[in-house]
């Protein structure tokens, strides 16, 4: 009887769960209300979402900024992919000096900040080799800097992709009379590239963001990419809205691309089973 009386006020598992969940929502609602009432909406709006400032960004933010960002990214990616593929093959070569070179390159450039590479390409090379002309000027410099940075990562990714192709594939190709190089080109690399499409898509997202470092190359008005334009207009207008606008431009590309990479990855996992 006494035991029963003691047990009665205790909550069932379901009641307890409801209570905890209710508490968590309560805290959230209080926090939102508190922040909303403390924030100065007027100042926030004029600083971060001022339509008057946003309007002055158009159409340059798209026709110059986004265009150049995309151009830097795509050329840098193409260069990095080509160099990465060559480095991956060197890394797997049976000739030791090729291997050493590839290992050294990968170790060095994976260990350096991208900004340092941009400063090296933009400032260092013209000082060290006076008179050097980059094809395409700043465009060539940006592609080179992004290519140098991404080649190291892509080389490792592609190497892993090549090594993931079962040994029997090379054996079957060689048995049919293909040379090693022919087997690589027709059989191994096509399969390896399929495996590395998701990680390379992620690399593209990273490059898209790193292209902002081109602002350290000393660009003309027409060569500015998103971040540089945002920086300039923010300074001129004394208003943060351009940064928000640039951020939106980045996210419009990076979020779908990131999703795509994850979808491809998931599909590949399913396909492998």
């Amino acid at each position: 009887m006494t035991e029963h009386a003691e047990a009665a006020p205790r909550l069932t598992r379901r009641q307890r769960r409801r209570l905890i969940l209710g508490g968590e929502y309560g805290v959230f609602v209080v926090a939102v209300v508190l922040l909303a009432s403390l924030a100065n909406w007027g100042t926030l709006k004029t600083n971060f979402a001022e339509w008057r400032v946003a309007k002055t960004l158009f159409p340059d933010i798209i026709t110059v900024g986004l265009r150049n960002t995309l151009l830097f990214t795509v050329t840098g990616f193409a260069l990095g992919l080509a160099a990465g593929l060559v480095l991956a093959l060197m890394r797997l070569s049976s000739v030791p000096p090729y291997r050493w070179f590839a290992i050294a390159y990968i170790e060095v450039f994976r260990g350096l900040p991208a900004l340092l590479i941009f400063i090296f390409v933009g400032t260092g090379i013209p000082i060290a080799f006076p008179g050097v002309e980059f094809p395409g000027g700043v465009y060539g410099q940006a592609a080179l800097a992004l290519g140098i940075v991404s080649a190291a990562y892509m080389a490792e990714t592609i190497r892993a992709g090549i090594e993931a192709v079962p040994r029997g594939q090379m054996e079957a190709a060689r048995t049919l009379g293909m040379s090693h190089g022919r087997a690589m080109r027709s059989i191994i690399i096509p399969q390896a590239l399929r495996v590395v499409i998701p990680p390379l898509t992620n690399e593209l997202v990273l490059l898209f963001k790193d292209s902002s470092l081109a602002l350290y190359l000393g660009v003309t008005l027409q060569q500015r990419e998103l971040t540089k334009i945002a920086q300039d207009v923010t300074g001129q207008q004394g208003n943060t809205t351009p940064i928000v606008a640039a951020a939106i431009c980045y996210l419009i590309i990076t979020i779908p691309l990131g999703h795509l990479a994850r979808r491809l990855e998931a599909r590949q996992k399913r396909g492998q089973r």
Binding site: G168, E171, A172, I187
Partner: protein, 257 residues
Amino acid sequence: MTTVNPAAAVQITGLQKAFGDLEVLRGIDFEVARGEVVCIIGPSGSGKSTLLRCVNLLEEPTAGQVYVGGVELTDPDVDIDAARRRVGMVFQQFNLFPHLSVLGNVTIAQRKVLRRSAEEADRIARDNLVRVGLADKVDAYPAQLSGGQQQRVAIARALAMGPDVMLFDEPTSALDPELVGDVLGVMRKLALEGMTMLVVTHEMSFAREVADRVVFMDGGVIVEEGPPSKVIGDPAYERTRRFLSRVLDPAAAEVEE
């Protein structure tokens, strides 16, 4: 030096192969005549696959010579890619190219290696797919096929190169039992057509029926060889008898120490 027998499809003399300290083949001498079907049997680890892989130099022999159609493959100056075209090989794991369709699998080496035109490669591929009973699968991808179908595509792929010799390394060991017959049927037909074949297999009924000669290997040497009625039906050596009793009646095998 042994004399080269130009009539032999495959001739192996003094073949040795070691992986580091592990001696896998310890002196193999052996010939396959044109049109002959030879089955190699023996316990796991006896070196059967290694022997087969030495015949087309997928493994580099440590010592000895391999001749195919009178050409020495072990000669360091031989064009190994050209020599390999004359030797077809079928693997236990099929090793089809998963990124290519069935037709692509059977045409790619014809196009890239033999430089045949697209139409010719296509026609030869289709002819060989008919030969293995898969004419209706030209556009399928390997992942869409059963193991037995994949293995038959692999056979067609090798045949399309017009080889003088076909090597089979346990071609049915990775198959579900009900699919084994289709592949063995194709191989039997090939043997009847006069193809020179070197087959590593555990299918004793196939060896008994189709082989002209059976070779029993153990510990990296050939223990005995002869017609199937002799080697399988009435083996001379205790090692052969013990192996056969284990293969033919696995349930009755005694546990080895």
